[in-house]
Symmetry: C2
Subunit: 235 residues, 2 copies
């Protein structure tokens, strides 16, 4: 009997790379990367590199079957078009999106994963949400994931007809970054392929943004050198 | 004090046109149309025509502020790209999507509406979901909407910080089509602008698909002539 299918949200960051390593041990995995405009192109390159890395490791117990990308500039640009802008009441008081927060991000990402999961008949959806490092994000908390699971149960054919709705797995949700890194290391995750920095360039990660800071602290606490290059380091 | 903001999912069909007429009586409305590949281009034209119709009716009590479109071919074509298809295990046993069912459709649509609602600080999201005519769709039932409301409460800044998450309004959820039409007529909805047919052409609606059949039966029970042209009718 071949393994069950799972859809994973693969961003190209450290967390989702670790979750992918977990998922391929037990499932036939379909990885979904959503380019929603806020993310740097280098992060997409990372997602592709991670997917390519796992595409060579198919086993009877599971593996990465396919990697898909959706391009989607949410409320920020090209994918959201306004062919008939209405001339009245211009919305001048629309608040700016905070630079690291995407409104309803995980709700949207999980919905897209759910759509693909229904098509595939997948029994699991994996997401690298983490409540410890991003406690300010409401959609990274266990209670959000539980509420979303109920939507999946009630809003899908599989859930309603046969009580076999996909199960949402957020295996990192309450782990500190160092524990995630140690877990990933035990599964030989190649963290050199991942991108966490909010402002990466070809010369490396900035080393000072929130994402770099959390990442570097995680590697430090884990007692492991971060294999990613930082711009402040000599090559 | 200006009215509160609401986001509405506007498909171009009869139901969402009726919901729009309800919403503009009380809210500053932002209409979102998602072209997810399955929909005929003429339905998008209808959404645009309905939006244009309401853009001239701004009042102190509310009105249509803006109409946006998102193009998004979910799991069917151009927006979903696969730049790195993995050669192993081709997914030959992927079941086909039923022709009128889009996996996780309302979950995805509500997520996109929620994203915009958060940006706008909107207090309401309107959806024309209807459990009576589409009882086979799990995501058109009141219990689905309730579960989704819980996700909105727990997954948004407004919900977590100030208990002011957008409220999901599905005012048609338990109404038969004839009641929807009579309600719309009382609000002077121009149903000639709407498209329900799964296979409309410039010569008119087919008159025989499920959507046409349900629509025609609704108008018949309401004792009103459907203003839309059907291909079988003489001009």
């Amino acid at each position: 009997m071949s393994p069950q299918r799972a859809v994973i949200l693969l961003s190209g960051g450290l967390d989702s790379a670790t979750v992918l390593a977990l998922a391929v041990r037990r499932f036939d995995v379909y990885a979904l990367t959503v380019n929603y405009g806020q993310r740097h192109h280098l992060e997409l390159d990372s997602a592709r590199a991670i997917a390519a890395h796992y595409s060579t490791r198919i086993s009877p117990r599971g593996g990465l079957m396919e990697h898909r990308e959706i391009a989607m500039d949410l409320f920020g640009g090209s994918a959201l078009m306004s062919p008939h802008p209405l001339p009245h009441h211009p919305s001048t008081n629309t608040p700016a999106i905070p630079c690291t927060y995407v409104p309803a991000r995980n709700t949207i990402l999980l919905s897209l994963a759910l759509g693909w999961a229904e098509v595939l008949g997948a029994k699991a959806i994996f997401i690298g949400a983490n409540a410890v490092d991003y406690s300010g994000y409401p959609d990274c908390r266990p209670e959000f994931i539980e509420a979303y699971q109920q939507v999946v149960r009630l809003g899908t054919k599989a859930g309603v007809e046969t009580n076999t709705a996909p199960v949402i797995h957020a295996p990192l949700i309450d782990l500190p970054k160092a524990a995630i890194i140690l877990m990933g290391q035990s599964m030989h995750v190649d963290y050199s392929l991942t991108t966490s920095c909010y402002d990466p360039t070809k010369e490396g990660a900035c080393g000072v943004c929130d994402a770099c800071r959390i990442r570097l602290e995680g590697f430090s606490r884990a007692g492991i050198k971060d294999p990613v290059h930082y711009r402040s380091e000599k090559r």
